[in-house]
């Protein structure tokens, strides 16, 4: 993780467990190339901003690959964490937009407009920390992760099964939505937190800001892919797979299963929260419609279409589904829901491993064969001197 290049060289010589296989490096460069070079060159500012929005969902899909694909924990409440991250960021931006100067027509200047409409005369305590940007960045991720820990710890300790967990997370998404909508004086209600303007004085509404934010988002996404790859490649990743297959056996190898599940769930929650915060920055508002059941399940389908076991697949899946949604719903709004529904069914019935499965079964073998025929002479020349003596 510290130095990918070093790891790469090692993999050729000694490491039988490289950080990434050559074909994975290829996928990474391909993805990074498309996100950071090709799309910005090809698309106008408007479309690029759209892609930026889609990519924030990819954070959620990445988390689901670890949590659902690897650990077998299906969460139907990822919208909760996406939303909490997004709301955290939105609260900071809203406070900055609600300067005394901007809100002087209100009966209480200096607080967000929706609070003023709801007769709230002082900033509530839980808004206070969001006056500070560093604190906001920490809290936007920490609060969702702690919340995830709270939910999952109790349940995994008591060995709640996969289906129950899915249903309970779904119920939590429903509860949080009702709460946010109902407590509009504190949360902005169903309209959400809107009219966000500047980040530490920097106007995020301009085209140039959106362009920069796109790259920040893309870069963060690549970093998160690498982090997820690290988790996946570590022994912890293998324990997650082991747990998904034979939970009892893992317990009898001396592991506390609950702890690992909590980690996977919290990791996914953290990624979703980062996605949510980036969403707010790029879209310019946050509303309860990203917290509820429907968006949460849609996020699962992104991961499923991409391939629930593939980090890169998750990103491609997210891009593909959203691209299809935007273009289909522009021309055939009716057909789109049929299409989306059919997509769910097709992925489950015919392609349980999604795009990544198709890639792995049909494209990768060819690439590997190709790569092997190119690399074949090398090991003969350089003997594996670092290999352990057997």
């Amino acid at each position: 993780m510290t130095n990918p290049v070093q790891t790469l060289t090692k993999s050729v010589t000694v490491n039988d467990n490289p950080f990434m296989k050559p074909v994975e490096w290829l996928s990474l460069f391909l993805l990074a190339g498309v996100i950071l070079v090709v799309l910005p060159l090809m698309l106008d500012g408007f479309r690029l901003n759209l892609v930026g929005k889609y990519l924030t969902y990819a954070f959620v899909a990445l988390g689901l690959v670890i949590c659902w694909g690897y650990a077998g924990i299906l969460s139907l409440g990822q919208g909760v964490f996406f939303g909490l991250g997004g709301y955290g960021m939105a609260m900071y931006l809203k406070l900055e937009a609600s300067s005394i100067e901007n809100t002087k027509i209100q009966s209480t200047p200096g607080i967000p407009d929706f609070m003023d409409w709801n007769q709230i005369t002082a900033l509530p305590w839980f808004w206070q920390p969001f006056k500070s940007l560093p604190l906001t960045i920490v809290l936007a991720v920490a609060v969702p992760v702690l919340f995830a820990m709270l939910i999952s710890f109790a349940m995994f300790k008591r060995r709640v099964g996969g289906t129950y967990f899915a249903i309970i997370t779904q119920a939590i998404a429903a509860i949080l939505t009702i709460l946010i909508v109902g407590q509009q004086g504190y949360t902005g209600g169903i309209n959400g937190i809107t009219d966000l303007r500047t980040l530490h004085g920097w106007d995020i509404r301009t085209d140039s800001a959106k362009f920069i934010l796109y790259f920040v988002n893309g870069g963060l996404l690549i970093a998160c892919i690498l982090a997820a790859q690290y988790v996946k490649k570590s022994k912890l990743g293998r324990i997650l797979v082991a747990m998904r297959d034979k939970e009892d056996r893992v317990r009898f190898s001396g592991y506390s299963v609950a702890g690992f599940k909590v980690f996977a769930f919290c990791f996914a929650a953290g990624l979703a929260a980062i996605g949510g915060a980036m969403f707010t920055l790029q879209v310019g508002f946050m509303s309860p419609s990203f917290v509820g059941i429907v968006p949460s399940i849609e996020m699962v389908i992104y991961a499923a279409v991409g391939g629930r076991l593939s980090l890169f697949g998750a990103v491609w899946g997210t891009l593909l589904v959203n691209w299809a949604k935007t273009s289909f719903s522009e021309s055939f709004p009716d057909l789109w829901l049929f299409g989306l529904g059919a997509l769910f069914i097709a992925v489950v019935l015919a392609f349980p491993n999604g795009l990544a499965g198709i890639w792995r079964e049909h494209i990768e073998p060819r690439l590997t064969r190709r790569a092997k025929s190119l690399q074949a002479p090398e090991p003969a020349i350089v003997p594996p001197h670092g290999a352990p003596a057997e």
Partner: protein
Amino acid sequence: MNAAILPSPVVGAEAAPPDYLLAVEALTVSFDGFKAVNDVSFYVDPDEIRVIIGPNGAGKTTVLDLICGRTKASAGSIKYKGQELTKLSESAIVQAGVGRKFQTPSIYDDLTVFENLEISFPRGRSVFGALTFKRDAEVRDRIHAIAETIFLKDQLKERAEFLSHGQKQWLEIGMLLIQDPELLMLDEPVAGMSVGERIKTAELLNQIIKGRSVLVIEHDMKFVEDIAHRVTVLHQGKVLSEGSMDRVKNDPKVIEVYLGH
């Protein structure tokens, strides 16, 4: 090889009672009123090989389940090296030094043989530990050594799913070995094996049971006679008889319910 499986210090058979490695006392568990294990007591010495036999439904597997924490006892105590196990979680019991092999091979199909063994390696068992675990030379050497012992040296990179039934059993034994438990519990280790595999397994077991206490459930009497120091006979959830194989074989109660037919 020898470095891999260190023999534990030998303790005399005539050691005083507190030195029992495992002391099971008045152990009872009931499922909705049915007492699957009823007031069972027995003691295992360090280095002893104890075989539990008994007809189907006698409660043998349940006793192992109770010791390793898979089932919670309704009453009674299980002391391992003076430590009460009934209150510990499964993982804590394993970390205390108790290893368990299941009746049907219980391995991770989606992982390779190497990875199966690696997961069982007793290091990096915490979340953070697993995240920072490094596959260093010690781990590799140890896995290679174990793989050789369990006849799977050439299958290290294969997915466990594709092993034969016997190989899966060996792999699970290997996964136990790498934990290096002081108390090893085996549930029918040779069941469902071909004759050839059975011979190899017996050889393997004989090799690995040295230097640790072993609790075995087995039906194969020849095998039991070969390895057992002492035998406990369970019947309908209760201890029917206990002692050396010869004594048990000649116990009329045992003949009545078990060996007789």
